[in-house]
């Protein structure tokens, strides 16, 4: 049996799943999935069909940054450009 990780355990780990990112950032799953597919959220995946794992701190900061840019009125292509420049 695999149990859901407590918030304490999630906050202590280096990598998180997309479901845990949803809980941590109050974002919609479909939004994060879209960002991932657009290459805005880097992830690692051991093999195809295995869970995508995101670096917790880095990804949370990135999501907050994307949200800020969205709030300031930037479109997705503009945000992608801004993210690429920042890398």
């Amino acid at each position: 049996m695999s149990r859901q990780r407590s918030m304490e355990a999630i906050l202590a780990s280096e990598f998180v799943t997309i479901g845990e990112l949803v809980r941590l950032t109050d974002s919609r799953y479909s939004t994060l999935k879209f960002y991932t597919e657009e290459g805005m959220l880097p992830f690692t995946q051991a093999e195809e069909n295995l869970t995508r794992r995101y670096k917790r701190e880095e990804t949370i900061a990135r999501i907050h940054f994307i949200k800020e840019l969205r709030a300031s009125g930037l479109s997705i292509p503009q945000i992608k450009e801004a993210l690429n420049k920042g890398q």
């Binding site: 845990e20 809980r23 974002s27 799953y29």
Partner: protein, 330 residues
């Protein structure tokens, strides 16, 4: 952020927008499943000793200081009523779901109190109270509202786990079963997504011992589920360019799904209509977020998204207003 127990998480989903003072069919279904969720919660926390298929409640479960009142209500009721206290999982779940109405009411009080203490559930005037007939008659109807952030955290977490490839946790396996048995699947998943969920549940059934034990169990009552499904189905029957639902034709069938809000002026423009609707809803304590403006605005009232469709009712004089129809997930 709080780590909720399984029964609490499910209650956040199942009690949201239910009427708090009356025992409606939908609420009874939800409470039966909350009772089953309590058993699953104890099962996941290893509160049962297992020999072959038989589960017996560990003696110390009810003596622990962190035992919640809602757990006590269910476990004590089951333990008291029967000398034999060892059943398989199916029997535990069925017995929990068949508890009397008064026990279900106590469960509702206990579980809602536990969530209220955490600030995750509140009782507000029910949306139906905003309807012209109820509003003008001064009838007060109360309903539950789950904390919007936590509700979305739970629902989006489940969606992410099941719609994404990869392992599924025991909590989500149980949640999916509870959502299926309480008839709440459609609240979370669109029709297309339901196909994916169904395929994933079948895979889980083949691969996970918990899902294999749980998914064949049925605790819903046919007549209750049929009532709930009928009320949902009639929304889908009539679909026009300006909206959907048989509710347009027979709103009396389920008025809470077709609330009519009257306007100050006749033939008011979209902006004035939206303003009047917002004002009425906010005066009754609802949180209103406008998602899309225009002829037919889309508005999120508490945790549910509605379309505000211009409509008129005809008595001695015509009254112009809008009907709030829940927006279906596609």
């Amino acid at each position: 952020m709080t780590d909720l127990q399984l029964a609490q998480s499910f209650s956040m989903m199942a009690l949201n927008a239910q009427r708090s003072l009356e025992m409606t069919t939908a609420k009874k279904m939800a409470l039966r499943c909350i009772a089953a969720a309590v058993i699953l919660e104890v099962y996941l926390d290893k509160g049962f000793t297992q020999s072959k298929n038989q589960l017996a409640l560990k003696k110390d479960v009810l003596e622990q200081s962190h035992t919640m009142l809602y757990q006590e209500i269910i476990l004590k009721s089951l333990a008291r009523r029967n000398a034999k206290k060892s059943w398989d999982l199916k029997d535990w779940l069925k017995r929990a779901s068949k508890l009397s109405g008064s026990k279900l009411k106590s469960l509702e009080r206990a579980v809602s109190d536990s969530l209220k203490e955490l600030g995750l559930l509140e009782e507000i005037p029910h949306l139906l109270g905003c309807d012209l007939y109820f509003h003008s008659a001064g009838v007060s109807i109360k309903g539950y509202r789950s904390d919007i952030q936590e509700y979305s955290r739970i629902s989006e977490g489940i969606r992410a786990e099941i719609l994404e490839d990869g392992p599924v946790t025991d909590e989500t396996i149980c949640m999916l079963w509870l959502l299926r048995e309480s008839g709440c699947m459609h609240d979370l998943f669109s029709r297309n997504e339901l196909d994916i969920v169904s395929a994933r549940m079948y895979k889980l059934y083949q691969g996970s011992p918990l899902a294999k034990a749980l998914y064949p169990i049925r605790i819903h009552r046919g007549i209750e589920l049929a009532t709930k499904q009928f009320l949902r189905m009639k929304k889908e029957v009539v679909r026009t360019q300006v909206g959907s639902g048989l509710n347009f034709l027979f709103p009396i069938l389920e008025r809470s799904q077709a609330v009519f809000i009257d306007m100050e002026a006749m033939f008011s423009n979209p902006a004035a209509r939206l303003h009047d609707v917002k004002q009425r809803l906010e005066s009754k304590g609802h949180t209103v977020t406008v998602l899309k403006e225009g002829q037919i605005p889309t508005i999120k009232i508490d945790n549910i998204v509605y379309e505000a469709i211009p409509h008129a009712i005809y008595g001695r004089v015509p009254i112009h207003g809008v009907r709030l129809i829940p927006k279906p997930l596609f």
